[in-house]
């Protein structure tokens, strides 16, 4: 199991040929209280960098970008009723979607946990 991060604060936790995508703890803290999440449809094909989901706090809407290319194979529809889960447990129950990767090598361009923590330190 490998977790990788984007500079836009998405994470992807890869197990085999699929990965769970969500936003980092830093990102949920920056957003504040999440009040609405719009998820993609299962079966949608995303290219790396595509707008994959929308997360809205009281103040503003933000896009969640696909950290890798692939097909959406599952979404966390619990977020529709309980968007605050993104704040409570971003790395766990607050996941957004599961993507089946089409190109594993895209992971090489993402940050490791350690690199991401350094990155967060450098911008906060």
């Amino acid at each position: 199991m490998t977790t990788r991060y984007t500079k836009d604060h998405e994470y992807i936790r890869v197990e085999g040929d699929a990965g769970i995508v969500g936003i980092s703890d830093y990102a949920q803290g920056q957003l504040g209280d999440v009040v609405f999440v719009e998820l993609p449809s299962v079966g949608k094909n995303l290219s790396k960098g595509d707008e994959a989901a929308v997360v809205e706090s009281v103040k503003a809407a933000s896009e969640v970008y696909a950290p890798v290319s692939g097909e959406v194979v599952e979404v966390n529809s619990e977020l529709e009723a309980s968007p605050g889960t993104v704040n409570e447990d971003p790395a766990g129950r607050g996941w957004f979607m599961k993507i089946r990767l089409t190109n594993q090598s895209e992971l090489d361009g993402l940050m490791t946990e350690e690199q991401y923590q350094e990155f967060v330190k450098s911008i906060s």
Partner: protein, 382 residues
């Protein structure tokens, strides 16, 4: 997720800046000031606390100023201001406060403001003004350029201003100043709170009962700490201030009202007293009187999206069959409503409460209905 833009311009600080930092606030640039958008508990908690208890807001960034008539006559200073705003100022009683708008010659709104006839003895012929932070330089220049001889504008950039809002506000203030706590809505008094000179008015921007308290900048931190010491009071940032005022159906300048909107389109006719409607004599009076008589072509309405998705400022409003009829000027999540709320301008023929509309959000039409405002009932102490 996108990063917020950063500006390198030096930001001004209110007299309460160090208090916000000590409380762990997230500070953001707002109208040239470094302001608290939220404290560690977050906007939802702050919003709900204000509706159930009492919230304390730093609004020292707003512009406070006096208009002063040399001849110490209320009529002199009131007439000078009536030439710029459509409210009845002449008939204000001492210590009475009114909401109004600075109008352009075409009836567009240059800013909205609060006007109080100063009641303290020795200050006859004084009006106290509070204008928006983002507009104060323009407002002061506009006012200054139009004042008659014998009336002067005295800006008070060194004052603090805080708002205590919520159902517990009265009980909290009663312990410190029974006189202030006894004020009725839109009335003001000069009182001492813990030895600090304060100008208190029963008003606010949340839809809740509450007070706005002005004091000397050097006393602001002490007053803030005194009020926060009450367990019913918590500090509230600009984020919750915005969600509270939106649920209360109150306009935010630069969003819901601006130079392109008239007070009648904006639904602010209640702030233009009968004498002024009839007599005119303010900038844009011809348009305002015409719109009172014939109705405005578009009007500000409340809008309730039917799903869970908020529609933000700038969302296009259409009829269910796709005819474009307006635009959202404020929109977001209403914590008290527990759902999305919005306001915006629509064509008159689709402005009745209950009318079905669509809001275009991220390219998709979201069903919505014209809704009565406020979304959360006002609880003013009249």
């Amino acid at each position: 997720m996108a990063e917020p833009a950063h500006s390198d311009e030096p930001l001004l600080k209110t007299p309460l800046h160090a208090e916000h930092v000590a409380l762990g606030a997230r500070m953001v640039p707002f109208a040239g000031f470094d302001m608290p958008v939220q404290y560690p508990t977050g906007i939802l908690t702050e919003h709900n606390w204000t509706r159930k208890h009492a919230g304390l807001f730093d609004v020292s960034h707003m512009g406070q100023a006096f208009l002063v008539a040399e001849d110490k006559s209320h009529e002199t200073v009131a007439k000078a201001l009536e030439a710029l705003i459509p409210a009845d100022v002449v008939n204000l009683k001492p210590n009475q406060q009114r909401y109004s708008q600075l109008l352009a010659d075409d009836g567009g709104i240059l800013d909205d403001l609060m006007v109080t006839r100063v009641g303290a003895s020795g200050h006859e012929g004084w009006l106290y003004l509070v204008v928006n932070a983002s507009m104060k330089e323009q407002d002061y220049a506009h006012i200054q350029a139009r004042l008659p001889k014998g009336v002067s504008l005295n800006r008070k950039d060194n004052l603090g201003l805080m708002a205590l809002q919520g159902p517990s506000a009265e009980a909290v203030l009663a312990k410190l100043s029974p006189e202030a706590a006894a004020l009725s809505f839109m009335m003001a008094a000069d009182v001492q709170i813990g030895g600090i000179w304060c100008h208190v008015s029963r008003s606010g921007y949340t839809g809740e009962d509450g007070f706005e308290i002005s004091c000397k900048g050097e006393d602001a931190a002490k007053l803030w700490t005194t009020l926060l010491a009450d367990p019913e009071v918590k500090a509230i940032g600009l984020g919750a201030r915005d969600s509270l005022r939106l649920e209360a159906g109150l306009c935010l300048y630069g969003h819901d009202i601006d130079t392109t909107t008239s007070p009648i389109e904006a639904g602010l006719i209640w702030s233009i007293q009968k004498r002024r409607r009839e007599e005119g004599g303010f900038p844009g009076a011809a348009r305002v009187q015409r719109e009172i008589k014939d109705g405005a072509a578009r009007v500000r309405v409340g809008i309730k999206p039917e799903g869970r998705a908020p529609a933000r400022e700038g969302s296009v409003i259409t009829t269910p069959d796709g005819r474009e009829v307006g635009i959202v000027t404020s929109g977001g999540f209403g914590p008290t409503v527990n759902g999305p709320v919005a306001m915006g301008y629509v064509a008159k023929d689709v402005s009745a409460v209950g009318t079905d509309l669509h809001l275009i959000v991220r390219g998709k039409p979201l069903p919505a209905k014209v809704a009565a405002m406020p979304f959360a009932p006002h609880r003013y102490k009249r």
